[in-house]
Symmetry: C2
Subunit: 230 residues, 2 copies
DNA sequence: CAGTGGTCTAGACCACGAT
DNA sequence: TCGTGGTCTAGACCACTGG
C-alpha cells in the first residue's frame, strides 16, 4: 500500500478508537513515526481533511472534526434552535456593518436601474467556539432605515418582519462546492484555500421583489444538508 | 505575493483570457516558466482544482472545467432533459447490476428485520464525454422481480411506476462534501481522494415505505444545486 | 517511445501560536 | 522561546497515456 494511504489508515483508526481525542500528533511527530517526510505526512492529512474527518486551524494543528450540523435549508428554523437541538453551543458575531455601494452581482440581483446603496452585514457563526460559517447579507438601505441600530445577531428575516413589516414569502438557494476566498478564510481561522460549501440565498417578498441577498460560506466538514421534498 | 498564489493568478488569468482553452500546460512546463518546483506548481493547481476552475484526469493532465450542471433536487426532472436544456450531451452507463445482500446501512434504511436481498445498480453519468457522477441504487429484490431485464439507463423511478405500479410520493436527500471512495474514483477517471458532493436520496411511497436508496457521488466542480422553496 | 501526473525523499526558512 | 503549520527547493522513481 502507498505510504500516505498507510498513514491515513493509521490516523483514521486512531480517531475511531479514541473518541475523546481532539487533536492529532504534529506533522513532525508523524514524520518520525513513519520514517517519512512532511510532504508525505501532509498528503495523508489533506486527504482526511477533504473527507471531513479532520480540520486544521492556522498553525495551531490538526483537529478531529465534530459531528456535522444537520440543516434543512427549506424549513425556516432558527440557527440557535437548530444548533441547540443538536447539542452545540451556537454563537453569532457581527464582524462589520456598512452602508455602501455594492458589487455588480448584487446590483443585478436586485435589478436596480442605477447603482444603489446597500446595507452590507458580515457575520460569523460558531459551534462550540469553532467558527463554521461566514456570511454577507445585502439589503437595500432605502428599504431598511436605521437597520444598524437593531441587534443583528439573530435572524434578519425576523427583523425585516417585525420592525419593517416586510415578509419573506419564498426564496431561491444555490449551492456549490468551492474554496473559501482568503478574506473569509481569515475570519474562520482556517487556511487559505480551505474547502467550503457556498450557499447563495435570495429571499423574496410576495410581490416577487428581492428582499435580501445572502452569501454563506460553510466550512465543508461542519455541515450536512438535509432536504425533504414533495 | 506567495509564489504559488502568483502561479494560481497567472493560470486564472490564462483561463479567463482564453475561453477556447481546454488543457493547461504540463506541471514541468510551469515549473520551468516560474523557475520553481513541481511541489509549488502543484500547490497552485490543487488550489484551482478546489475552487472548481480546473480538474484533472488521471495522468492525462489538467483541464479547464466547463460550466456546472444546474440541478434542482426537489423538482422531478429527467437527467437527459436537464443536461440538454443546458447544452450538454448526456450519457448514462450501467457499470454493474447485482442481486445480493447489502451493507448494514442499506438494511437499516429499509428497516428489514433480517438481512434481505437487494438489487444493486451502479451507473456512471457523463456530460460531453466527461464522467461527472457515479451512483449506487439499492431496492428490494422481492419487490422488483426481473428488474435486470429492464433498460436501466433512464429514470429508475419511471420503471418502478410503469412496470411495477409503485409510485414515489416523497423523498429525503442528504448532501455532504467529502472525498470520493477509491473504487468510485476509478469509475470517474479522477484521482484518488478527489472532492465530491455526496448525495444520499431515500425515496418513499405513499405508505411511507422506502422504495429505493440511492448514493450519488458528483465531481464537485461539475454541479451546482439550485433549490426554490416555499 | 516520450511525456504526463502520482508518489516520495531530505532537507530549508518563515510567520505565527502558545508559554 | 520553542513548537506548530505554511511555503519552498532540487531532486528521484514509478505507472500510465498517447502517439
Amino acid at each position: 500500500m502507498l505510504l500516505y494511504k498507510e498513514i491515513r489508515q493509521y490516523l483514521f483508526a486512531l480517531i475511531a478508537d479514541h473518541p475523546e481525542l481532539k487533536k492529532l500528533p504534529s506533522e513532525r511527530e508523524l514524520q518520525y513515526t513513519f520514517r517519512s517526510t512532511r510532504i508525505t505526512v501532509r498528503e495523508a492529512l489533506i486527504r482526511l481533511e477533504a473527507e471531513g474527518v479532520i480540520y486544521r486551524q492556522n498553525r495551531k494543528g490538526w483537529f478531529i472534526s465534530p459531528p456535522r450540523l444537520k440543516w434543512d435549508p427549506v424549513k425556516k428554523v432558527n440557527f440557535y434552535q437548530l444548533a441547540q437541538e443538536q447539542q452545540f453551543t451556537p454563537l453569532t458575531q457581527v464582524v462589520s456593518f456598512e452602508t455602501t455601494l455594492a458589487s455588480n452581482v448584487v446590483n443585478q440581483a436586485f435589478a436596480v436601474q442605477s447603482p444603489a446603496t446597500f446595507h452590507a452585514i458580515c457575520r460569523v457563526r460558531s459551534l462550540d467556539e469553532r467558527p463554521v460559517m461566514v456570511e454577507e447579507i445585502y439589503c437595500l438601505a432605502a428599504q431598511f432605515d436605521d437597520l444598524a441600530s437593531k441587534s443583528l445577531e439573530g435572524s434578519v428575516t425576523t427583523i425585516f418582519e417585525r420592525d419593517y413589516g416586510i415578509n419573506v414569502t419564498h426564496e431561491r438557494s444555490s449551492l456549490v462546492v468551492t474554496a473559501i476566498p482568503d478574506d473569509k478564510a481569515d475570519l474562520l481561522n482556517v487556511n487559505s484555500g480551505a474547502l467550503c460549501l457556498k450557499i447563495i440565498r435570495q429571499r423574496f417578498n410576495q410581490a416577487d421583489k428581492l428582499v435580501d441577498y445572502n452569501i454563506e460560506y460553510w466550512v465543508h466538514s461542519a455541515i450536512e444538508i438535509e432536504v425533504d421534498s414533495q
